[in-house]
């Protein structure tokens, strides 16, 4: 098995583009999804500030966004992507649909992490005269941090999977390479190599995330 140095270069670029997309999209996804998740957790029925109507509105929006298959979303928002980035292909452009797909997913993850926080601890903070904002920052986010970090790891894995799908419309990165060579040119070898690299990337992200979570968790030591 001899591999052309040009192919190696291409694969390295693919890894770089994929990581770029995943990191930026996950970060942007959290910029939208973290406030969304906090809002859902706080305004929900058992939240610290129940607001049934508000909750319902964001609950429905989140569900709608989450139920659009990523491949459809990718195509559906091409005009928006063009408007924001100026083109509809390549890694920079793919960040737009990735972020939009990740945000509601992340919102739900954050909501469920915050809901796991012991109600007794929240009550204790309320008994100290904490404001809702203080409870969110000092109690909810602080106590849920391990669960939130696990959420980040899962989100990155999901975004990585989505990013590969964007290869179909020339989204750049490893998925793009796999589809171009494996599907259009019947070059199975390169396709398999890219898949192996994708699997390895997920494993590495997962491993780092879990080790970090275990290291930071103060509950059992």
């Amino acid at each position: 098995m001899n591999i052309d140095p040009k192919v190696v270069e291409m694969l390295l670029e693919g890894i770089r583009d994929t990581l770029f997309m995943v990191l930026v999209s996950t970060a942007a996804g959290y910029a939208l999804g973290l406030p969304l998740g906090v809002l859902l957790a706080v305004s929900g029925k058992d939240g610290i500030h129940p607001r049934p109507v508000l909750y319902r509105v964001f609950d429905i929006i989140t569900n709608i966004l989450r139920s659009v298959p990523f491949l459809i979303l990718l195509i559906l928002i091409i005009p928006l992507t063009r408007f924001i980035v100026g083109k509809s292909y390549g890694p920079e452009a793919t960040i737009v649909p990735l972020t939009l797909a990740a945000a509601p997913f992340i919102g739900r993850m954050v909501e469920s992490s915050l809901k796991e926080v012991d109600p007794g601890v929240i009550e204790a903070a309320q008994s100290m005269g904490a404001t809702d904002g203080q409870i969110i920052v000092k109690v909810l986010l602080g106590e849920a941090r391990i669960s939130l970090l696990v959420g980040v790891t899962i989100s990155m894995g999901t975004v990585l999977g989505y990013s590969a799908m964007a290869g179909v419309i020339g989204g750049g990165g490893l998925g793009d390479i796999a589809i171009r060579y494996g599907y259009y040119r019947y070059d199975t070898q390169i396709m398999i190599i890219t898949v192996v690299i994708l699997v390895a990337l997920v494993q590495v992200l997962q491993f780092i995330g879990m080790r970090l979570a275990a290291h930071l968790d103060k509950r059992k030591k």
């Binding site: 204790a124 100290m128 106590e143 103060k218 059992k220």
Partner: protein
């Protein structure tokens, strides 16, 4: 004038089966510096009652006065300020598991707007006061139940309260640790002049520490007296029942 007055407190919960009355027409007074017990079996409404005092639970009707200030008329902002002077400790301690012991004690200070460094310095002093200065950098999961409740008490002291509410604060502890925690509560009552209201289902707790006690059953206040009188001459069936349960428990303990 009494330090704390509860007047005609009523609390109803609305459920699918209709209204459930958790508290009916509860009135009592607590004097400054007193240790006042509220005893009853589970479901008697004790926890609801104690939560009506700092409005973690809003009474359906009636009100609570602390130093002649009607708690139920306070705005949200005023209530938060008032709550800083009303400490509360819990059966399951309710410490922040991801914060060190020192940072747990510093939390009420941070909430009150004290800067983190200064809050930590002050917190150290309160850990001394509850007898665990060596645990400052430990995390709650590394502590025993008794130590956790000491941290919770230090956390309460940090906000310099006038009133301390104890919600089954010793129910998760063994008898020996219970005695130690009760004696710590008595110390802070004397040393800082903090008025204490203790919710419990255990007569031993009342006997050990309280000046006066109110007996709660089915959301009603059945009897209220000094501890001595109540033990010597219980007037109601509810009080007699609670005393009887205690005797049985002691017999079992001996056996």
């Amino acid at each position: 004038m009494a330090f704390l007055r509860a007047e005609h407190l009523c609390k109803e919960f609305v459920s699918d089966d209709g209204k459930i009355s958790a508290l009916s027409d509860i009135s009592f007074e607590v004097e400054k510096g007193e240790i006042f017990g509220i005893i009853g079996l589970s479901g008697a409404g004790k926890s609801t009652l104690v939560r009506c005092i700092n409005r973690l639970e809003e009474p359906t009707s009636g009100c609570v006065y602390i130093k002649d200030r009607n708690i139920n008329e306070l705005s949200d902002k005023q209530l938060r300020t008032e709550r800083r002077r009303i400490g509360m400790i819990f059966q399951h301690f309710n410490l922040l598991m991801q914060r060190s012991v020192l940072d747990n004690v510093a939390l009420p200070l941070e909430i009150a707007g004290v800067r983190k460094k200064e809050a930590r310095e002050k917190a150290r002093g309160y850990l001394d006061a509850v007898g665990i200065p060596d645990k400052a950098s430990a995390f709650p999961s590394q502590l025993s139940g008794g130590q956790k409740q000491r941290v919770a008490i230090a956390r309460v002291l940090a906000s310099d309260p006038e009133l301390l509410l104890c919600d089954e604060a010793t129910s998760a502890l063994d008898p020996q640790t219970t005695r130690q925690i009760l004696s710590l509560l008595r110390d802070i009552n004397k040393k800082y002049g903090i008025t204490i209201i203790i919710i419990t289902h255990a007569m031993t707790v009342v006997q050990e520490i309280c000046d006066r006690v109110a007996v709660l059953e089915g959301g009603r206040l059945m009897e209220m007296n000094t501890v001595k009188e109540l033990f010597a001459h219980p007037q109601t069936k509810a009080a007699k029942r609670l005393l009887l349960i205690q005797d049985n428990n002691e017999e079992e303990a001996v056996l």
